[in-house]
């Protein structure tokens, strides 16, 4: 079974080694800046930067393009709708095509840059980064530690649950269940024998997991951490430079 979150490609490039917080912040600046852009020059420049990062991270072109697949249809649709007109007969309009391209390229840069994060950052580092960036929210009584723990447990159980679904499907198939025959309603009903044991199993697991966490004194309060993220000079430089560029773009100094 394909696991969508398993898109992480381990490596040891500068991009891989950068602090997850720095990567998240730079991506945030990039995406926010994209939506204030009006000129083609800057978009082409950002595209180039993204491609450069890809090369530094030694990400396979095909792997990268696969990450863009989900928005491919949206992109194609946008382009077609913008490029043709039915007013006064069916014909192609160049300004419309350019406008469509402008949307599509921006969409791909947004998708591509977020894909770059998941491709070069392990899920553990990513949750650590998100948890630390969320820490100020603890003042507003958001249970940041618990949320981070929930995300991490969620990721931990993806392969276990995928395995379990596979096993239940096989077991029910062996008892004659079919999943791709008949009407939509019939197909939906066919999943009941998979979903019920799956959920029963999940509740049982949740109980056992809670016991295991309780037994190891988890309270969510007063924990220390083995992994401490330390910002390197390069991470700080990266954040400052991208922040500066962001301000200049939004402020209209660079156009």
């Amino acid at each position: 079974m394909q696991i969508p979150i398993g898109s992480y490609v381990p490596g040891d490039s500068a991009v891989h080694r950068a602090d997850p917080r720095a990567k998240l912040l730079v991506t945030f600046f990039l995406v926010a800046a994209l939506f204030t852009l009006k000129s083609w020059y800057l978009i082409v420049a950002l595209c180039t930067v993204m491609m450069l990062v890809c090369v530094i991270a030694r990400i396979n072109v095909r792997t990268f393009l696969r990450m863009l697949k989900p928005v491919l249809w949206i992109g194609a649709f946008t382009l077609i709708v913008n490029s043709f007109s039915f007013v006064g007969g069916f014909h192609f309009i160049l300004p419309g095509f350019m406008r469509g391209m402008f949307f599509v390229v921006r969409l791909f840069v947004v998708m591509g840059s977020t894909a770059l994060i998941t491709l070069t950052t392990s899920p553990v580092a990513l949750t650590d980064g998100i948890a630390i960036m969320m820490r100020p929210l603890a003042r507003l009584r958001v249970p940041v530690e618990d949320v981070a723990m929930m995300i991490s447990i969620g990721i931990r159980f993806i392969p276990t649950i995928a395995e379990e679904i596979d096993r239940i499907i096989l077991a029910q198939t062996a008892r004659g269940a079919t999943f791709n025959e008949g009407s939509l309603l019939k197909r939906a009903r066919a999943w009941i024998p998979v979903l019920i044991p799956l959920f029963v199993g999940l509740f049982r697991r949740a109980d056992a997991l809670a016991r295991s966490m309780d037994a190891r004194c988890y309270t969510g309060i007063g924990r220390t951490h083995l992994r401490e993220l330390k910002l390197k000079l390069s991470d700080v430089a990266l954040m400052v430079v991208s922040g500066l560029l962001f301000v200049l773009i939004v402020g209209g100094v660079i156009r």
């Binding site: 899920p123 553990v124 991490s152 447990i153 990721i155 931990r156 392969p159 276990t160 395995e163 379990e164 096993r167 239940i168 096989l170 077991a171 029910q172 198939t173 062996a174 008892r175 004659g176 269940a177 079919t178 009941i192 024998p193 019920i196 044991p197 029963v200 199993g201 049982r204 697991r205 056992a208 997991l209 016991r211 295991s212 966490m213 309780d214 037994a215 190891r216 004194c217 988890y218 309270t219 007063g222 924990r223 220390t224 951490h225 083995l226 992994r227 401490e228």
Partner: protein, 484 residues
Amino acid sequence: MLSFSDITIQYTTQSQPLLSNVSFDVEQGKHVVLLGSNGSGKSSLMLCALGFLAPSDGGVVADGFSMGDAHQAHQARRFLGYVGQNPDDGIVATHVTDEVAFGPENLGLPREEIARRVDEALAKVGLSDYKNREPHTLSGGQKQRLVIAGALAMHPRYLLLDEPCSMLDPAARGDILALIEQARAEGLGILHITHDIFEAKNADEIIVLCGGAVAFRGTHSELLQHESDFDEWGIELKAPFVERDGIALSETQYDLEGVGVTYLEGNQQISALREASIVIHKNEFIVIEGQTGAGKSTLLKALAGLLDVTTGAITFEDQPFSTKRARGAVGLVFQNPEMSLFGETVLDDVAFGPRNFGASEAEALQAARKSLSEVGLDPVTFGQRTPLKLSGGEARKVALAGVLAFSPRVILADEPTAALDASGRLAVRRLLAQCSRAATVIVVTHSPEEFVSMADRVFHLEDGSISEVEKGSWKRASLRGESN
């Protein structure tokens, strides 16, 4: 000292108490085994020891902390290491190092100390080379060792183990038992729950629970002198001989010719099955023995028509085999089959198969009633219960009935007795012997001693290669686990 005094557990006032006035102590440096069948109350005692269940009467005191008090129990859990039955349910983190660090992090220890303890604990359980792995890529035995490392990293004074080996194959079980010995030698007190007398071999004290009370306490050699009581206590020393009528074998059920299965894992080509050439006759009882990773599940799926073979061919009842031909003809009982029960009632669940294979509602229910009686469950009263609230042995029987209900001509069973207690195992063995009158039975297992007495032939599977072994080479009534 971990002392249990006068523990009584009674869920409702009318019912028979689950446990009454059970008292014993676990001292540091001692290995105490609680032996008993399913439902003997041993797991409830474990929950009391951790402070997760308050007994109706009596209490547990751990080095001066009363486990009945929530605050004191939390304090005491700092020095109680707990290891559950299924490691998949006990692992919290996505990374081996993080998993071991979880406990020490909760204790609020400084970072250097956590790092030191992680290294130390992983070295103790022999997983130092797996520091950067993700837990789901480990084998069952390695996962259980990881759970033990997670407990040891908290530097506990006691280890509480709830059936730590029941999901493991013999080799992994040996590893875990060795770890327990090592922990005892280092001065930890060990409370170890099991239904397998083999695991109690080196214990300082064995306590047998039966009928809600302590039926025996003493050493392993003293216990062996009470063999006549074992049936009553639910202890199985040898796999009892199960009678099976021999049937003349003539017709061919399966004919495998050079069957191979390979698949890609990452960029590596893995051969799960190589050049398997065997003939299996109708009504034959076959045992296929092999350790975890030998290719057992691949072979089973091939025989069940659930995967396409890469090379060679399978002939089934003189015709080429396919998923379509397997439908309804081959019944597959997966490991822990009760995990796929779903029906509103037991009867409804058992009727699922016949319904899928085209029986009318009345026929399906009729078949379900018949197969429930065959497995020894009353179709009228038991058939109305919910399948989600059954004991391990009952659920296993229902799952078997669910396969028997569509009268398959072949029954494939993967570890059919795994994680059952003595009486449950015996019941399943008898059932399979009975099934072989009407069907070809193929059992895949890592502990073949249990089935050798009933088998016509025994095959050995290793590294994807299958070969027939002399049946006599398995000691018929060997002590379980002695073969490794």
